[in-house]
């Protein structure tokens, strides 16, 4: 089994719900807490397992905003695990989840240097490295209804832009959608073989704007008022 996430860049609206749901679940889960520094002050910072960045692709007028959530890719070739001197970082053979044993970590930051995706963050309060656990304490919890045995970020996503499943099984829903939509991995040239895949935006023809009519008198007045009246 190779459990991982598939992120749909076509439908992601960039609302950060996955990031906040992740923070909410994991601040009381197995690597809890996710410490905050100065949370209500002018310079809020803290540990997050999932971060959403926003990019502009292409150039106006052929451009598009892409919201880009990133968390641990649970790489096949996880160098964060090989470089760890203490054995605190490990990759589970049964499902491929990469975890940090909080009782063994000495906080040397070396694994975060080896990670190209910025998935690992040091918790200054505990002095240990923390990272996405793929909600390992949710997905196997038999006291939860079966449809809720998914990572918190996947359940929270209002746009269904996050899919969770076994990427080794060619017939799983995630493997099929990666095949059909041309899913890809990030920075393939570094050969970390990340498990998480990204689905590119669907290509649709742009909505034409050049053939719009001049519009009625009422519309022109409205547009003029909109320009003149200060909001």
């Amino acid at each position: 089994m190779r459990l991982g996430l598939v992120i749909d860049l076509d439908t992601c609206v960039g609302c950060h719900a996955c990031a906040t749901a992740c923070k909410e679940w994991n601040t009381s889960a197995i690597t809890a807490p996710l410490s905050d520094y100065d949370p209500y002050g002018r310079e809020p910072s803290g540990v997050w397992f999932n971060r959403v960045r926003h990019y502009e692709i292409g150039e106006y007028p052929n451009n598009k905003t892409i919201n880009f959530p990133m968390s641990c890719m649970h790489c096949e070739n996880a160098e964060c695990v090989t470089v760890c001197p203490t054995g605190a970082s490990y990759k589970r053979p049964e499902d491929g989840i990469v975890l940090v044993d909080q009782d063994k970590c000495m906080g040397c930051n070396y694994c975060s240097w080896a990670c190209p995706y910025g998935a690992r963050e040091l918790d200054r309060e505990s002095g240990t490295m923390k990272k996405c656990t793929l909600c390992v304490d949710r997905i196997y919890d038999e006291s939860l209804p079966e449809e809720e045995r998914q990572p918190a970020c996947v359940l929270a996503c209002p746009a269904h832009a996050r899919l969770f499943g076994d990427l080794e099984d060619a017939q799983s829903a995630v493997s099929r959608v990666v095949r059909e939509r041309g899913g890809y991995a990030l920075m393939p040239e570094l050969n970390y073989q990340p498990t998480n895949q990204y689905l590119p935006p669907r290509t649709r023809p742009a909505i034409p704007t050049h053939d719009l009519g001049r519009g009625s008198l009422a519309r022109k007045v409205k547009e003029w008022v909109n320009r003149v009246v200060e909001r």
Binding site: R51, I57, I66, E79, N109
Partner: protein, 339 residues
């Protein structure tokens, strides 16, 4: 990368200590300039142990959770950091035994003394290699992912070691010509290797924001990094230095780190320097400390791409590449620890 003083001191002082141990072995093996007397061997091995210890103690300051540091020796099969720890710890009993044997048996050239000196020197050289590989094995940081890194560590460690041995000989008197020639040759080699490195890191890398996001055919520009203040990632990886400042520091490395100690040693051949001979190793350590600072601050982790820093906007790039129109240089948010 964050130029943490703990790691700079670790590589600087322990590298110098291992280099000194290797030079003691070479000097007594051949022997060069008559070799070292037992007392002088013991004193220099003591200095090597002291330098290594300073490095090792300062390395623990880098750990956020040092109570688990003892576990760092367990994963030597895969981790260069663990290997460095294992060999650094192996160095201690050998060097201490060498120190004790030469001091109490009052011999530096007997079979046992030479065996211990050479064993400690070999372990020290292996430790320098492991230290270099800690950085060179990281594919995420192109400026480190090169055989030049362990090569630089070797030649700089040996150069400082040779400087300490030569200036100790100047202090205590005796023939020093060959010792000084070795030290000056090592500084020359260091200057050439560092020049190769500094030109090499100026070339752009293969990984870009395009491959990092998968949008290989279009222009990709950061709109928002999703946080209003710094994070662990910006604190640890976003340090950089302006091209002009980097150039000044590089000149300082060459003047203070290489030229000054070499000049002082050559001067010592012709005029009695007395205690001034100690300026040579001090200048070398200062200059190579600046070199180590640059080594960290010029290294750019690929995660900086996600924060909008393009390879061409990185400080070591030639100006002609930096002014390309498609390069957006956007400052990262300030480090979250600098309040």
């Amino acid at each position: 990368m964050n130029p943490s003083l703990a790691v700079i001191f670790l590589t600087l002082f322990s590298g110098s200590g291992f280099g000194l141990m290797a030079m003691i072995a070479v000097i007594n093996d051949l022997p060069i300039d008559g070799g070292l007397s037992p007392t002088r061997t013991a004193v220099l091995v003591g200095v090597a142990l002291l330098l290594v210890t300073i490095g090792m103690i300062s390395s623990t300051a880098h750990l956020a959770n040092p109570k688990n540091a003892w576990r760092a020796f367990t994963r030597w099969r895969t981790s260069w950091l663990a290997r460095e720890g294992v060999f650094a710890v192996l160095f201690y009993p050998l060097a201490a035994a060498d120190l004790g044997w030469t001091f109490f048996q009052n011999t530096a050239h007997g079979a046992v003394a030479l065996l211990l000196t050479n064993a400690a020197a070999a372990i020290g050289l292996i430790t320098i290699f492991c230290q270099g590989m800690i950085y060179a094995c990281l594919r995420t940081i192109r400026q480190w992912h090169t055989p030049l890194v362990p090569a630089n560590f070797f030649v700089l460690g040996l150069a400082v070691g040779a400087t300490i041995a030569a200036s100790a000989r100047l202090l205590s008197g005796g023939p020093a010509t060959a010792l000084i020639a070795i030290a000056v040759t090592l500084f020359l080699a260091a200057a050439i290797l560092k020049a190769i490195y500094y030109f090499w890191i100026g070339r752009p890398t293969g990984t870009t924001l395009q491959t990092a996001t998968g949008f290989n055919r279009g222009k990709v520009r950061l709109l928002d990094q999703g946080h209003t203040f710094g994070t662990f990632l910006t604190h640890e990886f976003s340090n950089q230095i302006s091209a002009r400042a980097a150039q000044r520091f590089k000149i300082a490395v060459y003047l203070v780190g290489f030229a000054t100690p070499a000049a002082i040693l050559i001067l010592g051949l012709h005029a009695p320097l007395g205690a001034w001979a100690l300026v040579a190793p001090l200048a070398a350590l200062t200059g190579i400390g600046i070199e180590r600072y640059l080594f960290f601050v010029e290294a750019q982790h690929v995660v900086n791409l996600y924060h909008g820093r393009t390879p061409a906007a990185m400080p070591m790039m030639p100006a002609s590449l930096k002014t390309r129109a498609d390069v957006t240089q956007r400052p990262l948010v300030p480090s979250y620890e600098k309040r």
